[in-house]
Structure formats: C-alpha cells, structure tokens
C-alpha cells in the first residue's frame, strides 16, 4: 500500500501530451456533447413554441366568447295580444306562441329608436338586430309572471349573433353587404344604440350557465349542460375507478402470487391502457346501452365508459407508486409482527397515497378531455334541458365539454368559432386546475426516507 517513494525531481515534461491542450479525442467528445445539448434545446424550444401558438390561437379566438352584446329595451305587454281572454290563465295565455311575441320586440325597438331620434334609411324591421332567442325569453317571462301583462317592462335582450360579431370586429360593413342576415343599415343602428348606451357588450355569464342553443342562435349558446354532464361523469369515474383501481393494484402488487396468470393480467392491463378510446365507446354501446339497457346520452353510461378507460391508467400509476415504497418499510412492519394487510394499510398505502392521488387526477383529467367514446353512446346529442340533481340526473341526457366543442365546430355560423374556442378555454382551465391539484398534492404529501 504505502509505497511512497517520493523523489525530489519533478518530471520536466509531461509524458503524454499536455493537459493544457485538448487532444483530438477529447475535442470530438466535447463536440458531440455540445451537439447533443443543441438538439435538446431545439426540441424544448419547438415544444414551447407549439404550446404558445396553441394558447395564443385559442385565446385570441375564444376570449370574445366570454363577452356578449346586450340590448336594453322597454317592452309594452298589451293585454289584447297576450291574454285575449283577459283572465291571466297560464294555459290559455300559452296559446300565444313566440310568433305573437316577436312583433312586440320590433315595436319596442321602433319606439326606442324614435325616442332617441335616430334616423336610418333602409333599416327594415329594427327588431332583427335582437336575437331570435328574445321572443322565447319574453314569452317565458310573461308565462311565469302573468301579472305583468298590460304593463311596460324593461328587458335585456341578447343582440343577434351578427350584431354581436360587429361589436367584436368579426363582422364589418364590407361583409355585411354580402350577408343576407345583416345589413349596413343595421350596423349604423348598432353604432347609434351603442352611443346612446342602449346596446352594450359585457361579461357573459350565460356562456357558462346557459344550455346549448340551435345553430341559428349562436349568441344564446352556453356550456351549462356540458359542464354539468362532464361533472357528473367525473363523479361516476371517481366513485368507480378509484376504489376498483386501488383495490386491484394493491392485490396485484402486494398479495397476488407471481405466476403466469398474474403476468397475463399485468400484460393485459398495460395493453388496455393503449387501446384506442373509441373502442371503449363501442364496448359501452354494446354492453351498457344495448345489453344492460341504460339510457342513451346519459352521464352514467359516459361515466362507466370513461371508468373502463381510466382504470388502466389508475392501476398503472398506483402500482408504480406502491412499488416505489422502499421494501425496507415493509420489512420493518413485518418485523414487528404486523400482518400483511396491516403492513399495506398502515405503512405502504399512506406512503403511496400522493402517487395514487396524482395518478387518479391525471386519469380523471384524461377522461374529462375524452370525446370519441362519448360520441358513440349518444352524448353528442343536442341537449337543452339540464339534467336533474344526482342521483337521478345521472340517467338524464346531458352533454360533455369536449363533445360540445366538437358539436360547435360542426356548425356553420361563424359565431360558433368563438364559442368552440371559448369552450376549449373552459376545458383547459378545468384541466389546468386538476393538474395543479395533482402537483400540489404530490408536493404536500411527498415524504422522503
């Protein structure tokens, strides 16, 4: 060992090359390293660029969906036209259809224009700048409050989609000339009403709370039913997938003997995670709707299908986090005489919990954004009625956020472009919140040993 035969003489020159200059081999290695770093930086930059472009395009298209143009009008509700019998009987009043209410809005508009002293040529019916939704809105209000008939009521109506588009710079006078749904004269009227404060653009809660509307009325379309439907489905997925997934993983990881059969199960779970989601949709259609007879378009079926889809994700994540608990903890627990189950539930599971929760939330987020299987089980239908509260609501028809996006992108009215992008923003916000919760949980409960 200690063969220190130090001599005073310091070697005058290094034997093999100087340390101060790199030899060819070192230079090549350093160049390779620099190149590799460059590839990495390029890859990361491309990724960030794609993300930025995505966010910019969605936000620039969709932000305007959260604003809507409203027109405030004072509407006369004459008794002779709305309640010819004069007895305020709801059923008899209901005979007057929305066509009976339409002209009232036109008249209110004319009165408003006259009161403001606005004069515009070739205007046509000034009521056309109000949404087609307005007569129905008025009728619903009158039928709900029959006593208002005969008086004058102040209403806030949605502006027509084109007028709203004009307020958001989507429609210009040039495009209005080519469009039979809107005329430059109506745009002049819009400007005049805007100056008078009768017409204004503001935050649009209805986009989040209202149900979907037909293709003719983009200004009234909202995400309410889709959000409720998605929420119900997430609830079903959480209630089913978390316990089933965790129980399956604990059994497979901690209790099951390691043999061919469990190997087969393991391989199949890994494969299930890679099965295209539309296949789960077909499975759901065949089993839950055709065989089990569950209703179409219902969140319960959507939830079941998404549960099947999410289970492999949760099982894989749970098994990975169970595996990452050091075996020394298990040995310690077994060593003091804990049973297998006590070991798992007292020591292993608490340590694996952050990983399990993270996996579950990521699985849920995946399920939240899933569209294809829902198309097959009928959740793509046009649903205007809100589902009831749980649990009955699970069986009522509903929509889902990603399906609503898909639906809106199919419609011809250009106003649905902003609606679809706005819905994507809402969906992304939910996903970001869920992922943030996952990260927070991991940070909060992560233990080191």
């Amino acid at each position: 060992m200690s063969d220190i035969t130090a001599t005073d003489a310091v070697p005058s020159a290094p034997r093999k090359g100087s340390l101060l200059e790199q030899d060819a081999r070192t230079k090549r290695r350093n160049a390779a390293e620099t190149r590799f770093k460059m590839y990495g930086i390029i890859a990361v930059t491309l990724g960030i660029l794609a993300l930025v472009m995505l966010v910019v395009s969605i936000v620039s298209n969709g932000a305007s969906a959260f604003q809507q143009t409203y027109i405030t009008l004072e509407v006369d509700l004459p008794e002779d036209r709305l309640d010819p019998e004069g007895n305020r009987n709801r059923d008899q009043m209901a005979r007057v259809s929305t066509f009976g209410y339409g002209p009232l809005i036109g008249e209110a508009m004319e009165a408003q224009i006259a009161a403001l002293g606005i004069e515009i040529e070739e205007l046509g019916n000034p009521g056309d700048i109000v949404s087609k939704e307005a007569p129905a809105q008025l009728r619903n209000f009158v039928l709900a409050n029959p006593d208002v008939v005969g008086s004058t009521v102040t209403f806030e109506f949605l502006a027509n989609g084109r007028i709203d588009g004009y307020m958001k710079d989507r429609v210009t006078r040039a495009t209005a000339l080519l469009d039979k749904n809107v005329s430059p004269a109506q745009l002049d009227l819009t400007d005049a009403l805007g100056e008078a404060g009768v017409l204004e653009k503001r935050f649009n809660w209805a986009f989040i709370t209202a149900p979907d509307a037909s293709g003719q009325r983009p200004e009234a379309a909202g995400l309410g039913v889709a959000i409720v439907g998605s929420f119900y489905m997430m609830l079903v997925v959480l209630i089913l997938a978390l316990p089933i997934g965790v129980a399956a993983s604990i059994y497979l990881e901690e209790f099951a003997p390691k043999n061919r059969f469990t190997d087969l199960i393991e391989v199949n779970i890994a494969n299930l995670a890679a099965v295209p989601s539309i296949v789960f949709g077909i499975l759901g259609l065949a089993i839950f709707i055709n065989f089990a007879g569950l209703p179409q378009s219902a969140p319960i079926v959507g939830g079941l299908v998404l549960t099947l889809m999410t289970l492999p994700t949760i099982i894989i994540a749970t098994r990975a986090s169970l595996k990452s608990v050091p075996p020394s903890i298990r040995e310690a627990a077994l060593g003091v005489g804990a049973s297998k189950m006590q070991t798992v539930f007292h020591h292993v599971l608490p340590l694996a919990a952050p990983g399990i929760l993270t996996g579950t939330i990521i699985g849920l987020a995946q399920a939240l954004g899933e569209t294809a299987p829902l198309l097959l089980i009928g959740m793509v239908a046009f649903v205007r009625e809100f589902p009831a509260g749980p649990p009955e609501g699970f069986f009522d028809p509903a929509s889902a956020l990603p399906v609503q996006v898909y639906n809106w992108t199919q419609r011809s009215d250009p106003a649905f472009v902003e609606r679809a992008s706005g819905a994507i923003i809402v969906l992304l916000i939910f996903l970001v919140i869920m992922n943030a919760i996952a990260i927070l949980l991991r940070r909060r409960f992560e233990r080191r040993w």
């Binding site: 903890i329 298990r330 040995e331 310690a332 077994l334 003091v336 005489g337 804990a338 007292h346 080191r448």
Partner: protein, 265 residues
C-alpha cells in the same frame, strides 16, 4: 479490538432457545442453505460470521420466517423455538414475529413520529390498554434502546430526522417494544460510524440480560467483542459453531481459520 481476553470469557451453559435441524433453504433453483444444525442459547449473544453470500442472513431470516415474504424462497428442515416447530402450518408468522424481533441492516424507521415508531408494535399486538400504559411501554423501550435521553423532548418529531446511529437505536427500541424473546440483528452496524457502532454494541451487551440475541456481522472484531457464541458459515454450510473464544483462537476447521486470518472471504 481488545479480544485478548477472549479465552477467559466464560460461557455458562444455558437453555437452548432455538434449535435448528437439517435446515435447507432454496431460492428458486439455488440451494442457499445446506443442512444447518445449530442450537442457539437463551440470554446469549450468538454471532453469525462468514463471507458475503454464505447464507448467514438467509438463515437468520428463517428464524422469524421473513423468508416467507419472498415468493421463490423455500425452507425445509425443522426450526424449534422453545421446543415448538415454527414451520408448523398452525403457526401464524405474525405471532412468531412478535416473539422474534428483528433489526435490519439499514436503519428503517417508519416515516412517522419517534413515538409512533415505537408504539406501533405494542398497538397492533394490543399490549397496552390505554394511553398511559402505551406511554410507559414507549419510554421503557426507548430507554432499553439507549436513546431515551436523546429523544425524550421530541417524541413527536419524525423518526427519519434522526442521525443514522440514532435511527438504528430507534429501530432496536421498536423491536424490543413488543417484548420479544429473541432479537435477530442483520448487520445492524454496517451503516453506522464507529461511535454509533460502539453505542449499539454496548446496547447488545445489555440486551442479552433479557433476550437471546442473534447477530449477523461482517466484522470479525465485532463478533469477537459482543458475542459469546459464534457460528461460521461458508457457501451455505455451517462450518463451525462454538464458543467465540474457541472459534477465534483455536478454530477446529481449516476454513474457519482461513477466514479469520483473512485468507478467504
């Protein structure tokens, strides 16, 4: 170190606590332990020495059936604890492990408070009727683990925050908290510095008043320091078993001599 007085070390003949006969252990196809016969005395420190992979840890883990947790491991032969066959199908390994405590090579406290670490065993075995009794058990165990004075003011702090030596003593306290009759130690000092090692060895010396201690060690000095009896394992065989003084000064088998003098291993 001061193993000069080894020969003078008296070994009283004591009751046999653990008797193993013709023990074989297989890991799948590998025959890890071959025909081991050994009698381990009560209230004695018995050391298992031998080169890496010789099977001493494997044999140790047979005594509290920790090998059961390894799927491919198979144990044959008889091991009797106080005359009872521990591999009898009627024996629940959980009950056995309450009687035969174990301390592992790497300190492995639970990621819980110091108090909960020690209280866990007594809790699951129902040794304490109430909180006061549990407190008492925890204090007694921590005192026996020679760590009470260091941790008494911070029982609610995590056990993983202690130093390596303290963690190992905490693990010993955890093992003695369930009042075992045998304490198995699998290289308890291999992750510790010399000062912590000395503390643990002192502790082992005290523990032999109440327990039968079996310790696996790679350090022959340690075996010489703490044990009264020593067993030398080689390639799965128990080569020689006897009083520590005799094994270290006058080994009968040439392989033992070679190992002790550093020629094999």
């Amino acid at each position: 170190m001061n193993d000069m007085r080894l020969t003078e070390r008296a070994v009283d003949s004591k009751d046999v606590k653990i008797a193993a006969r013709k023990v074989q252990v297989f890991y799948g196809e590998t025959h890890a332990i071959k025909d081991v016969d050994v009698d381990i005395d009560d209230k004695t420190v018995t050391a298992f020495i031998g080169p890496s992979g010789c099977g001493k840890s494997t044999f140790l883990r047979c005594i509290n059936r920790m090998n059961d947790t390894i799927d491919v491991a198979r144990v044959e032969g008889d091991i009797h604890l106080d005359g009872e066959d521990i591999y009898n199908p009627k024996v629940d390994p959980v009950q056995l492990r309450a009687k035969v405590g174990m301390v592992f090579q790497k300190p492995n406290p639970f990621p819980k408070s110091i108090y909960d670490n020690v209280a866990y065993g007594p809790k699951i075995h129902g040794l304490a009727k109430n909180k006061a009794e549990l407190d008492e058990i925890v204090e007694r165990a921590l005192r026996r683990g020679a760590i009470w004075d260091e941790v008494k003011d911070r029982l609610q702090e995590p056990g993983t925050g202690l130093s390596g030596g303290q963690q190992q003593r905490l693990c010993i306290a955890r093992a003695v908290a369930t009042e075992p009759e045998v304490l198995l130690m699998d290289e308890p000092c291999s992750a510790l510095d010399p000062i912590a090692t000395a503390q643990v060895e002192e502790l082992i010396d005290e523990l032999k008043q109440n327990y039968s201690v079996v310790i696996v060690t790679h350090s022959m000095q340690q075996a010489a320091r703490v044990s009264q009896k020593t067993a030398f394992f080689h390639l799965g065989y128990l080569v020689e078993y006897g009083e520590t003084g005799q094994i270290f000064t006058n080994p009968k088998d040439s392989r033992t001599e070679s190992y002790i003098t550093g020629r094999i291993g």
